[in-house]
């Protein structure tokens, strides 16, 4: 069922069993899971079914520290959320991502990869991926010509990826609006979360839109699913009862913001051709691989988890830094420019078919960011059109991030030499071991993580292992804000899995 909140009367009261705030990737994944149950689900979505610049503008904010994309254009603010722009690259987190590593400060989740496995399988259905199988040998059997580089398996392994084309707006619009027990309210922006008198649970949320009207939504359980930056912003901005905001007794909300560092960091020059489809992907690719560092090598070298993907060098040299391309406040314009740069570079690269460069690759890093309390989301003194303080993002990296990238390429260079395959050339910023600075073309994956991190100790995390906000018995957070560490792969498959796990948990509570 769909209700456009703009037609409701001022002060209208919306009531249900559970209230999901945000109809994006996480929120829709959960709502789908409740279709056909006997519970009334309220799904509050700030935008409509299409892009609306006035709503999108509510995402505007300022950034400091390491250069970052305009906050307005890093997410999409309407039904379907950021799946409207995502690239669909999916791979699960590795077992090591969940455990405490003594060389990675604040690492360790209260859950394991095994805990998530059944939900990863379900998330595959939601994201319309292939089988939940990321074993290289499985895919080698399925697809022709996936020939791996003969590298030492103790150091480098082939981490498989699958590709989703799911855009939740088109894909799930009918299912959600057609579900009798799901009440989707569009143009229903949550602007404040109100706790009960003893501040132990949520009583209601305040909802607003550009008509100037305000509504209240009440439910037994509330799930915040607005994306990692926005979830933190809402908790911080809900400060009418507690000055530091909700769930923020220990000043953790918004801290530990993490991204994936994505960057063209080196080159690989093969000494002879090596025909394979394993390391390339394009439209229609079912599975491909990135070169990943084994758990053993990460442990021995005390580095973060990261992977390396290969782009033909002729193509890579024609690409521009995403940080420079995706710089328009309007996400549609940023996306348009982004795809144009890629298609121009592809066209130019097609002409390069001969010579040594045809055996050369640009090596792209994809690496987790070490948890850092100073990398954080806070509130600005400026307010948006609905009266909510805007977001301030300070993105800050650490030496461990840089040392890990350098070491990954040193290991890869060594392995390529041992195998006699070719040679690796480090880009300028990695050459001096003492240089801890970051290049201006450092990219991030538009992956927002860690602002409401998970830890069973309220002094160390905003939510517990069940994604429940510490101290607020009926408030949960869905999404990658709950990640304690950011893993190397893109976050969405894991965030859908985690959301489905949360969905099961809340079902058990209702």
């Amino acid at each position: 069922m769909h209700i456009d909140a703009r037609i409701l009367k001022d002060n209208a009261l919306i009531e249900g069993d559970i209230c999901i705030i945000g109809a994006g990737t996480a929120g829709i994944s959960i709502a789908l899971d409740w279709i056909g149950t006997r519970h009334k689900v309220i799904l509050l979505e700030g935008g409509g079914f299409e892009y609306d610049d006035r709503v999108q503008d509510l995402y505007s904010g300022e950034t400091t520290g390491q250069k970052y994309y305009p906050l307005k254009s890093t997410r999409l603010h309407y039904f379907g959320g950021t799946t409207g722009h995502w690239a669909g690259m999916c791979s699960p987190y590795d077992p090591i991502d969940f455990i405490e590593r003594d060389w990675v400060p604040e690492s360790g989740w209260p859950i394991s990869r095994e805990d998530l496995d059944p939900f990863y399988a379900r998330a595959h259905e939601t994201l319309q991926l292939g089988p939940y199988n990321y074993d290289f040998n499985y895919w080698k059997f399925q697809l022709p010509h996936l020939v791996p580089f003969p590298l030492d398996k103790k150091v480098i392994w082939n981490k498989m990826w699958q590709f989703s084309t799911a855009r939740f707006n088109d894909l799930y619009g009918d299912a959600i609006t057609g579900a009798r027990n799901v009440h989707l309210y569009t143009y229903a922006n949550v602007v404040d979360i109100i706790a009960n008198e003893n501040l132990g649970e949520i009583k209601e949320v305040l909802v607003r839109n550009h008509t100037g009207k305000t509504y209240r939504a009440r439910a037994k359980r509330f799930i915040l699913a607005c994306g990692a930056i926005q979830n933190a912003r809402l908790l911080l901005a809900s400060n009418s009862q507690l000055p530091q905001g909700l769930g923020n007794t220990h000043d953790l909300v918004g801290r530990y913001f993490m991204e994936h560092l994505e960057h063209a960091s080196a080159e690989l020059w093969l000494s002879r051709p090596f025909p394979t489809n394993l390391y390339s992907w394009g439209r229609g690719t079912l599975a491909s691989a990135e070169l990943a560092i084994t758990e053993q090598a990460q442990t021995e070298n005390r580095i973060l988890n990261g992977t390396v993907s290969l782009f033909p060098l002729a193509l890579g040299r024609g690409l521009q830094s995403e940080m420079d391309v995706w710089n328009n406040e309007d996400p549609r314009k940023s996306a348009e420019r982004f795809w144009k740069v890629i298609s121009d570079a592809r066209a130019a690269a097609k002409k390069v078919t001969e010579g040594r460069i045809s055996r050369a690759f640009q090596l792209h890093t994809r690496i987790e960011q070490a948890p850092n309390p100073n990398s954080r989301v806070t509130l600005s003194s400026e307010k948006d059109a609905l009266g909510v303080p805007k977001t301030k993002l300070h993105w800050e990296l650490t030496d461990l991030d840089k040392n890990s990238i350098r070491r990954i390429y040193q290991l890869l260079g060594q392995q390529m030499g041992i195998a006699g395959l070719g040679r690796v050339r480090l880009n300028e910023f990695l050459r001096d071991e003492k240089d801890m600075s970051w290049p201006s073309d450092l990219n991030a994956g538009w992956h927002h993580m860690g602002t409401t991190r998970m830890n069973d100790d309220p002094k160390k995390g905003v939510v517990n292992a069940d994604c429940q906000v510490h101290g607020l018995s009926n408030l949960y957070v869905a999404g990658s804000g709950c990640y304690a560490t950011s893993g190397a792969p893109n976050p969405t498959l894991t965030l859908v899995a985690l959301s489905l796990r949360l969905s099961d948990f809340v079902k058990g509570k209702i």
Binding site: A266, S271, Q414, G417, G420, G422, R425, L426
Partner: protein, 114 residues
């Protein structure tokens, strides 16, 4: 593009004679042109000025290797692999190279006409 001037047979430089393969790093010659190889050799010599003579480099490269033509190239190739395995590597202009092949580049650069 500069031409590779390393001869196939024994090569003489002053009094010193050595086999051409010694100054021809196999993998790198499939990756670089001669000019790059010579430039890398120059960089190596600048970093290790004590190795800036044919005599010194030939001595280092032929340590434990058969001097006769057959087998030298294979020996050097496996020594390069061994260098990578044992971490006897260095970075020149960003390239992660084995010490042996970097020395080959240095020898190559000494053989180039000034």
């Amino acid at each position: 593009m500069a031409t590779i001037v390393v001869p196939l047979g024994f090569y003489g430089c002053g009094d010193m004679k050595y086999e051409g393969a010694m100054a021809r790093p196999m993998a790198l010659s499939n990756i670089w042109d001669a000019r790059t190889m010579a430039e890398m050799g120059e960089l190596y010599k600048k970093r290790y000025p004590g190795e800036n003579t044919v005599q010194k480099l030939v001595g280092l490269l032929s340590e434990g290797a058969p001097i006769e033509k057959n087998g030298l190239s294979e020996t050097l190739t496996s020594r390069i692999e061994e260098d990578f395995r044992t971490g006897r590597t260095l970075t020149l202009d960003g390239w992660i190279l084995s010490v042996t092949e970097a020395r080959q580049c240095a020898l190559f650069s000494l053989a180039q006409p000034k």
